[in-house]
């Protein structure tokens, strides 16, 4: 797993992809930090984190689109799958490399909070809660998009599918408002990422929401591994 992680993490910075993703995340973080915190003269970071939610939804598919699909297209997966590395190791190595780049990308928010703390009282539990929420959202989304990358040979299709899933996750709230059936409304509210994410933005860390995001991440890592395994048996 460590070998795959090392290679994939380096690959992000051998190409412009890692830099672009981090730059875009820093740009939006900086922009919201300037408009809400500096211009609005507040130490409240809730708005900044709230606005980063859609940014993350669109950055993650780009972050993961290459991971599995490119190996399939260029047939480099043949060497990986014949190397003495388990399929779980391959998936987790790739997964954590994307997670690390993601963490670097969103770390700008913490830097902003530290800077702000020199000039005013920062509500640290709220900032940490928000940051944790963003991390968990990332963990779940990266796993979903990694799976989407494993079912196609095209990076573009992987990214488009990722965007579609991200958009759907944003729309789920709206659907739950118009659905009449109590069961489906409850279902859509249950799977709504926004509903799960919102408590974090208030600095409230609920265990069930933490478990929800981690379960989604674990589930999709397992499905991606099964997808690799399936190829071996078919």
């Amino acid at each position: 797993m460590a070998s795959i992680f090392k290679r994939e993490f380096r690959a992000y910075f051998h190409t412009p992809l890692g830099y672009v993703i981090i730059a875009v995340a820093y740009f939006f973080t900086g922009y919201y930090f300037f408009t809400y915190n500096l211009y609005g003269a507040t130490t409240d970071f809730t708005n900044l984190y709230g606005l980063l939610f859609p940014v993350v939804l669109f950055l993650v598919p780009v972050l993961t689109m290459r991971l599995m699909s490119e190996e399939k297209r260029s047939k480099t997966d043949q060497l990986l799958l014949t190397a003495p590395v388990s399929r779980v190791g391959i998936v987790l190595g790739k997964y954590f490399s994307a997670v690390c780049v993601f963490l670097i990308a969103i770390s700008g928010t913490l830097i902003d909070a530290v800077i702000t703390s020199f000039y005013g009282a920062v509500d640290w539990p709220c900032v940490i809660g928000n940051f944790l929420g963003l991390v968990l959202l990332g963990l779940a989304l990266i796993a979903i998009c990694l799976f989407l990358s494993s079912i196609t040979e095209s990076q573009v299709i992987a990214a488009v599918l990722g965007f579609a899933v991200s958009l759907f996750l944003m729309l789920v709230d709206a659907i739950s408002l118009v659905v009449k059936s109590a069961f489906f409304r409850a279902f859509f509210e249950y799977i709504s990422f926004k509903e799960r994410y919102n408590p974090f933005t208030l600095g409230v860390v609920e265990l069930q929401n933490v478990i929800f995001f981690i379960s989604i991440a674990a589930l999709f890592c397992v499905i991606t591994t099964a997808q690799l395994e399936r190829k071996r048996w078919n």
């Binding site: 290679r7 060497l79 190397a83």
Partner: protein, 319 residues
Amino acid sequence: MIVVKDLVKKYGDKTAIDGISFSIKSGEIVGLLGLNGAGKSTTMNCLTGYIAPTSGSIIIDGNDLLKDPDKAKKVIGYLPEVFSFYPDMRVVEYLDFICDLKGYTKNKQARKEHIEEICRQVGIYELRGRMIRNLSKGYKQRVGFAQALIGHPKVLILDEPTVGLDPSQIIEIRQLIRDSGKESTVIVSSHILSEIQTICDRVIVIHDGHIAADGSPKHLEEALGNANEVNIRVRGAHADIDRVIRATGAVRRYSRLQPQEDGCEDYIIVGKDGVDVREKLFRGFAQAGIPLLQIYGKEASLENIFLRLTGKNEKAGDK
């Protein structure tokens, strides 16, 4: 070193390999020979653990590939038919990554020396700092060969290692394979008969998902090629030559070919079983004082061998 038993692989309704069994001793260089689609790539893919067989077992160096894949794969060095690489990596970085993958020593100095030794061995030492994507096809193939050699594998599996290379590169790669055979058990697949003949101690011919023949190249040639069929060129008149050929008593059938040189005649001759027709012809023409300019055995083409193996070419007029 390798024991394969009743290997079956089905893709849906199609059976790619159907009950293949063989065992390979340590240090053997074995050629897997077969036409495209015969099942040799499927066999190799099963041996490397890339795909799982529908049934059967594969034991490599005492480890069951299906039950304990990581242990079994550790002793294998594999060069796929299409060697793919990461375009963003340099040769040394790539080989270092393969060391990581195979879990070959964490000691940096030992690893560096190992990589450099392999680079020298395959002739890419000077190019080790270059991006792989910028290398020529022949050098890329050598990088592929180098990665297969990482970690001193006990078993080397090479899938069509010379495809797409120019003649001098082919000779070099063949030499590399022969050299590797001194340290490892080697399995090479090819659809070029002469290649297998020059490299391998033993040949396994796969046809239609079955093993059609298994033996040394010489055995294969004798059993499947037509060793008693020769082409000759003789200086003289057809009538005289005809008389000598008949007088040898060793010729089953012969036919006259289009003359290629002035004053000469060309023939294709099939000898009787159990007689070396070459010697009889030589003596016959020598006694008659007719110069025999050329005599050469007709090489059995893979196609012919396959047709023979599958019993499809017993053309009535051929023998």
